[in-house]
């Protein structure tokens, strides 16, 4: 979904009150943090003048060639090199950075009193080897003030057009992949192609992070009032669906042959130097698909993960106990189409699948559980995904009473007419439950709404024994680190302790340059927040294990010439025994000289 600009006052209020409650609850954590502060002399939150990238253009190029890309950002003066994560792609500076001016906000012409930051432009020649991995790559630059943040650059397995040549080409040959940019507010880019009668065409826009793209289709017919005004053609998705699009894509089966024009615009006309995008236009001859971003880290609470036997093995590998269970073989079962009676699941673990193939469809599966059995119910949506398909999973006992569901509820501060307490609700891709009584149960799967459903609303549910393990480990904001000698940088990491994992988590960093060290400065097991309800404590959310890591450079650490690639890992620690290393993140780290704090003007 596009980023929604939440401006509600009550959200702010909610955040404020939540923060207060959180502060009260985590006072121990705060005290611990305060206690270690004296040890963290020379604390650095950020290095103010490190290079910061805003955008790259073009954003995609074919493999097996060279392309010049333009990077825009702040503090790019003095950049010495481009830095990529390898994998058959290398970059070289094509020249010094050029200062373009100040960043202005067109939406606020009166200004907010802050001095606008300078924008720089720098060109990089990328050599993309024939063996380069297709898909997303992270591109950074390095200056004496450190390594920059990353911007995404894609490698395509086919030819790519630039927007200028695509616009000038007249009717484009399909399929085509185009690099485009909406530089000015209100700008729209137009690409034409010839369509046959009754043929289907697809349009798929992949956007940069800083704007919400829109795609539309125009016919060659003009308005009766205004001969220069084209007439829009409804995309099939617009014609038949009242759902907000989750992305800028669509398709059409043309009723008339002739020239059609694809229009790329942005939400409320946003345009900027970094508003770059890729668009693919394809017909029935061969459809182009967007390249998916590569996951950086372990993700298990996501409706897109693939649930199969290997998934169980992957979970097993994160449990930490040396005597791991032997891999479980899930028994496959399928929803009985149109059946009134629940489909039977013969034994557990089991992998079931089906589809919410019409609005209001409720699929049911019967299974047996024994007293005290601890089970996990995981759900995947291989076809339509949230926010369009929001699978609701519930387990009912033999009397039809619901035992639990995958809906997470938290108490809101706000009230409505009917209830004294209002809940903030979410769905989780996993629900955990300990059965207090043995017997037969029914698993229900449906969409959260009763309004949508078709064959693409497919799902897979994995029912398996609980495997206590370390789940996702997040380190918000840990993209790169630049340290000056004698100073330190704090990083907060949160590990999710899944399915009753009761051990601890240790952290290790490898690949640190000489003179740089990492230690855990404090940690605490934190309550869930805000105000989870006790009745679903076990069901939907794991316990969060927070830790603070401190990266510090000794006073005599030598400045780096180039970034070191650091690997941050954690290990589950159960009964004094450490489990296998689990990668948290890989990121570049540099030690920069003291002079790095000043921006050099060209």
């Amino acid at each position: 979904m596009g980023r929604e600009h939440r401006t509600r006052v009550f959200e702010v209020l909610r955040s404020g009150v939540y923060a207060w409650r959180l502060m009260r609850r985590t006072s121990v954590f705060l005290l611990a943090t305060i206690a270690i502060l004296p040890a963290l002399r020379g604390w650095d939150e950020t290095t103010p003048s490190e290079p910061r990238l805003l955008s790259v253009f073009p954003t995609v190029a074919p493999k097996g060639g060279r392309v010049r890309v333009e990077l825009r950002g702040h503090d790019l003066a003095g950049v010495t090199q481009a830095w990529l994560d390898g994998a058959g792609i290398a970059g070289k500076l094509a020249g010094p950075a050029e200062r373009l001016g100040s960043e202005e906000s067109p939406a606020r012409p009166e200004g907010d009193g802050k001095k606008p930051a300078s924008i720089y432009r720098i060109a990089i020649d990328l050599d993309i080897g024939a063996q380069a991995r297709p898909g997303g790559h992270w591109l950074r630059v390095v200056s004496p003030r450190g390594v920059s943040n990353a911007v995404r650059f894609d490698v395509a397995g086919r030819a790519v057009m630039m927007e200028d040549s695509a616009k000038q080409a007249g009717d484009l040959p399909l399929p085509v992949l185009i690099n485009g940019k909406l530089e000015r507010p209100g700008e729209t880019d137009l690409y034409s192609f010839q369509a046959g009668e009754g043929r289907r065409y697809w349009f798929d826009v992949i956007a940069a992070e800083n704007f919400d793209p829109r795609v539309g289709l125009l016919s060659s017919k003009k308005s009766w009032f205004d001969g220069s005004r084209p007439r829009r053609v409804l995309l099939d998705e617009e014609r038949s669906f009242d759902l907000m699009p989750a992305s800028a894509k669509g398709s059409v089966r043309t009723s008339e042959p002739g020239r059609y024009t694809v229009e790329v615009s942005s939400l409320f006309g946003k345009g900027c130097a970094g508003c770059s995008y890729q668009i693919s236009i394809s017909g029935e001859e061969g459809r182009l698909h967007a390249t998916a971003p590569l996951p950086e880290s372990w993700i298990e609470r996501d409706f897109s993960r693939t649930l199969d036997d290997r998934w169980i093995q992957k979970i097993e590998s994160r449990r930490g106990a040396r005597a791991a269970m032997s891999p479980l073989a899930a028994v496959f079962s399928r929803e009985r189409a149109g059946g009134e009676e629940p489909s039977a699941i013969a034994s557990l673990p089991a992998l079931t699948q089906g589809a919410i193939d019409h609005p209001g469809d409720v699929d049911q599966f019967r299974f047996k559980a024994s007293t005290g059995q601890k089970l996990v119910f995981e759900i995947e949506t291989p076809g339509t995904k949230p926010p369009h398909f929001n699978p609701r999973l519930a387990v009912l006992d033999s009397n039809g009473k619901q035992l639990f569901s995958n809906i997470q509820r938290r108490i809101s501060l706000f009230n409505n007419n009917a209830e004294t307490e209002v809940y903030l609700k979410d769905i989780q891709p996993r629900a955990v439950h300990t059965f207090t009584a043995g017997g037969e149960y029914v698993l229900q799967v449906r969409d959260l709404t009763s309004r949508y459903g078709n064959e693409s609303y497919s799902y897979r549910v994995l029912i398996r024994p609980q495997i206590p393990h370390v789940g996702e480990v997040s380190s918000s904001g840990l993209d790169h680190i630049n340290l000056t000698p004698g100073r330190a940088r704090k990083v907060d990491v949160n590990a999710m302790l899944e399915e009753g994992f009761s051990g601890e988590v240790t952290y290790h960093a490898s690949g640190l340059p000489p003179g740089v060290s990492m230690r855990a400065a404090g940690r605490i097991v934190e309550e869930r927040a805000p105000r989870d309800l006790p009745e679903n404590a076990e069901t939907v959310l794991p316990v969060q294990y927070s830790a603070t890591l401190v990266f510090s450079a000794s006073r005599d650490a030598d400045p780096s010439h180039e970034p070191a690639l650091v690997t941050l890992e954690c290990r589950p620690l159960v009964d004094g025994a450490e489990g296998p290393p689990l990668q948290v993140r890989r990121f570049p780290l540099m030690v920069v000289g003291d002079s790095g704090g000043k921006e050099k003007q060209p």
Binding site: E4, P109, L234, M244, Q402, F404, V422, L448, T449
Partner: protein, 826 residues
């Protein structure tokens, strides 16, 4: 022989012509029940012009068996004994009969507080909304308006106490209005008879029938009697006859009011109800339903009975029209409209000329002025179907989508505030526009809006605040928009004028009681029973009783629990299948085309605000429904009608007509349409600062109709009364001083004229001859060529005006765009 026969026929014809056709009696037959029952009869006769008039008072009334019934000169028959009688009315030598059956002449109709005492309250105006029928009553005494709730009235009368919005317990001193020990000293009598001080003055005299009825009731112990229930007999509805009365100034006509009882019988209520004229300067309504015509015009008569209200239309016609012109009907609209025009002797205007039609239909269908080349093209077209062709063309333009998107945006209140986010607003706007592009059936659009769920675009507007904006604010707005009824008042108290009760309000609100957000507001759903111990909640709290109210349709049908799966869809389904839906929709669209609804305001249907053309409204609604709620079909039907295509030029008979569609009524352009029209006429697009399509960047070219009021500041549109979408519906373009200032000094009217690249600059650049320039400016602004006289005088003025040709043409363009002809759709 043959000659004799011819003479005989002619003599008979002459006699008939002299005497008029035979009168008729209404009702033509009747069955009366109970002792002392009475029934009024009307003697009606058509005059030479076919107008039916009330000759009751002039007729001679004869009852066949005076032992069974008596009749007075006013046509009121009173039952004496059971049996069958014949009632005859003789008028000008002709006669009419009515067959009457009398049953149960010895039986007494059971007493009912609501019907008998409540009827007096209503007839005497005690329970008017400005008297004791107000929300809190008056002088410590509360009655339900129009005796809608007799049980409450009984309690307040016998026990005392007043209504409180937030509590079921009444506040203040409890002063009973009856004194069972000394019935004559009951306040209810003493006040009404002005024996003690009474703010409302004397409502009846001591000893009058109403006084006696109440006194007898108190003496009998003030029972509540047979009220609504299984055993009681109550009034299901009332009916007035005739629903439409035609009078001449100085003549009179009685209305008869009949109650339909729950036991299947009927009862004459004429003498027990209150008649109120909405315009007593036109028609005066007296006791017993006698209407008296005063001056030419039309008004509605409100009839209030205990717990019920209906209305009738009454018009006073002018003199006969010789050579009434033919009115060739294009479709059923014309048939209904012309029938009424004929009845009221109003001659419709001539058909509009092509230029007038082109301008009107372009503005009404697209909110856009046609460019000069299109005007020339249309005027030159000799095709007999060119008007139909034009309508089809306009319905298929992107400007049609813009304009009706703007209108639906007003109706559904598309704003940033209500959508909460840019993405939500854009989705909501896109849903409106794509619905129009796809010509989505209006019932489907309504269903998607009312029952918006999940990540549905229509659920992005308002519903996001479901946790914070209470459902009682959501429900009445949707009912107002899609059913044309304003039930907001019933939130705090029973509706003062209508039959909407507070319980009905909250029952309907309960459909929204389960609304909830999921995933940080990304999804809107109805409560899914996400708690093991709370399987599903679908209720709201009644503010007075503090009890949970479950979903109940407006007609009292409770939504069964097994249909709670998708309550708002159930409601939406009910809304779109209810007759209110289609009639509210067609009335709203009609209002856009004619400047007023058949019911006006278009979203204020109520018994006390009747339609001017009820049959037309029904026909439009049926046609709309039969064509699967196709908005374009409805608009096409309207635009094709001769009624719509009439000229705005008045004649002697329709000069004062505002409600019969006898000519096109000039309507001021809405602010956004006016601004776009000025841009089109001058050829200079408006530059909107912060217009949303340019992300706040000052930009040109966007149409004012696409500007959202809370995102796009525009002093011009503000001055011309654009809707800020704080309530559903269009803006109110009213004359204001600010508009005059804009006209004389505002950039829209001044600097636009001479801007480089504009129409004027282009004319000057190509050194267009004066005649060509005048034609072009007229076509661009007024959608017509100048009259010969206009053109000649303008040519002279251009040749002699000081300041040069550019200034002279600039002055002409300014004069054109600031003229009333430009600023109105006519």
């Amino acid at each position: 022989m043959r000659t004799c026969a011819i003479i005989g026929v002619l003599a008979f014809a002459q006699m008939v012509r002299a005497q008029g056709p035979a009168p008729r009696i209404y009702p033509a037959q009747a069955t009366l029940w109970g002792a002392n029952t009475s029934q009024r009869f009307l003697a009606l006769s058509r005059d030479a012009e076919g107008v039916e008039r009330d000759v009751t008072e002039k007729a001679k009334w004869i009852v066949s068996d005076p032992g069974k019934a008596s009749v007075d000169p006013s046509g009121k028959l009173v039952v004496l004994a059971a049996g069958a009688v014949n009632l005859r009315a003789e008028f000008e030598g002709l006669r009419a009969d009515s067959a009457i059956r009398i049953e149960g002449a010895q039986g007494q109709r059971p007493f009912s507080f609501g019907a008998d005492i409540g009827g007096i309250f209503t007839r005497r105006g005690c329970n008017n909304s400005d008297c004791h029928g107000g929300v809190k009553g008056k002088g410590g005494y509360k009655l339900s308006a129009n005796a809608l709730f007799p049980a409450d009235d009984y309690k307040w009368t016998v026990e005392g106490g007043t209504f409180d919005v937030l509590s079921a317990e009444s506040k203040g001193a409890h002063i009973p209005r009856v004194d069972k020990r000394n019935p004559e000293k009951s306040l209810i009598l003493a006040k009404a008879a002005a024996q003690v001080a009474h703010g409302g003055g004397r409502r009846f005299a001591v000893g009058s029938p109403d006084y006696q009825t109440i006194l007898d009731w108190v003496k009998a112990g003030a029972p509540i009697g047979a009220e609504s229930g299984d055993k009681g007999v109550f009034i299901r509805g009332i009916e007035v006859y005739p629903r439409e009365v035609v009078l001449r100034a100085g003549t009179s006509h009685r209305l008869l009011v009949t109650a339909h009882l729950s036991n299947g019988r009927t009862e004459d209520l004429t003498d027990q109800v209150l008649f109120v004229s909405n315009d007593s300067e036109v028609v005066e309504a007296g006791e017993g339903g006698v209407l008296r015509g005063k001056q030419t015009g039309e008004t509605s008569i409100l009839i209030r009975a205990a717990g019920h209200a209906v209305s009738a239309q009454a018009g006073v016609i002018g003199g006969p029209v010789s050579n009434y012109p033919a009115f060739p009907a294009r479709n059923y609209i014309d048939e209904h409209v012309s029938a009424k025009l004929r009845k009221f002797r109003i001659v419709p205007a001539a058909l509009s000329d092509d230029a007038e039609f082109l301008r009107r239909v372009s503005l009404d269908l697209t909110g856009t002025l046609p460019p000069p080349e299109r005007v020339r093209e249309f005027l030159a077209d000799r095709s007999p179907t060119k008007r139909d062709n034009l309508i089809e063309t306009l319905l298929d333009t992107p400007e049609f989508v813009d304009y009706w998107g703007f209108r639906l945006g007003d109706m559904l209140r598309a704003t940033f505030v209500t959508s909460n986010s840019l993405a939500g607003l854009e989705a909501f706007e896109a849903w409106i526009l794509t619905s129009l592009m796809a010509n989505k059936p209006f019932d489907r659009l309504a269903m998607e809006r009312i029952a918006g769920q999940g990540r549905s675009a229509p659920a992005r507007n308002f519903y996001y605040v479901s946790e914070k904006v209470a459902p009682e604010n959501l429900m009445p707005e949707l009912i107002r928009v899609f059913m044309g009824r304003r039930i907001d008042c019933a939130q705090c108290h029973n509706h003062p004028f209508e039959t909407w009760s507070q319980n009905q309000f909250w029952g309907l609100t309960a459909f929204f009681g389960g609304l909830t957000e999921v995933r940080g507001g990304q999804l809107i759903i109805d409560t899914m029973g996400d708690h093991p111990d709370r399987p599903r909640e679908m209720s709201v709290i009644h503010p007075r009783t503090k009890e949970k109210v479950l979903p109940v349709f407006l007609d009292g049908t409770v939504l069964p629990r097994d249909r709670w799966e998708d309550p708002r869809r159930e409601l939406a389904q009910w809304v779109v299948s209810h007759p209110y839906f289609a009639e509210a929709a067609v009335n709203r669209i009609w209002g856009y085309f004619f400047g007023r609804g058949i019911v006006d305001p278009v979203d204020d249907f109520r018994a006390t605000n009747p339609p001017t053309h009820p049959e037309l409204l029904t026909a439009l609604a049926k046609d709309f429904q039969a064509h699967r709620f196709d908005l374009k079909h409805l608009m096409r039907t309207i635009a094709q009608s001769r009624t719509y295509q009439l000229s705005s030029v008045a004649n002697e008979t329709n000069r004062n007509d505002r409600i019969n569609y006898s000519r096109a009524q000039p309507r001021p352009l809405e602010a956004a349409v006016l601004l776009d029209a000025i841009s089109a006429a001058t050829g200079v697009p408006e530059e909107f600062r912060y217009h949303p399509m340019a992300n706040g960047d000052p930009g040109a070219g966007a149409r004012a109709q696409r500007m959202l009021p809370d995102m796009c500041p525009s002093p011009f549109m503000d001055a011309y009364g654009r809707s800020m979408r704080k309530t559903p519906g269009p803006g109110a373009p009213q004359p204001a001083l600010g508009q005059a200032l804009h006209m004389f000094a505002g950039a829209t009217y001044t600097s636009k004229l001479s801007k480089p690249g504009g129409r004027l600059a282009q004319l000057l650049a190509r050194d267009a001859a004066s005649g060509e320039a005048i034609d072009e400016l007229y076509l661009a602004s007024l959608t017509r060529l100048p009259l010969a006289a206009e053109k000649e005088s303008l040519k002279r003025a251009l040749a002699t005006q000081r300041g040069g040709r550019a200034a002279a043409l600039g002055n002409l363009l300014w004069a054109l765009v600031s003229s009333r002809e430009f600023a109105h759709n006519h």
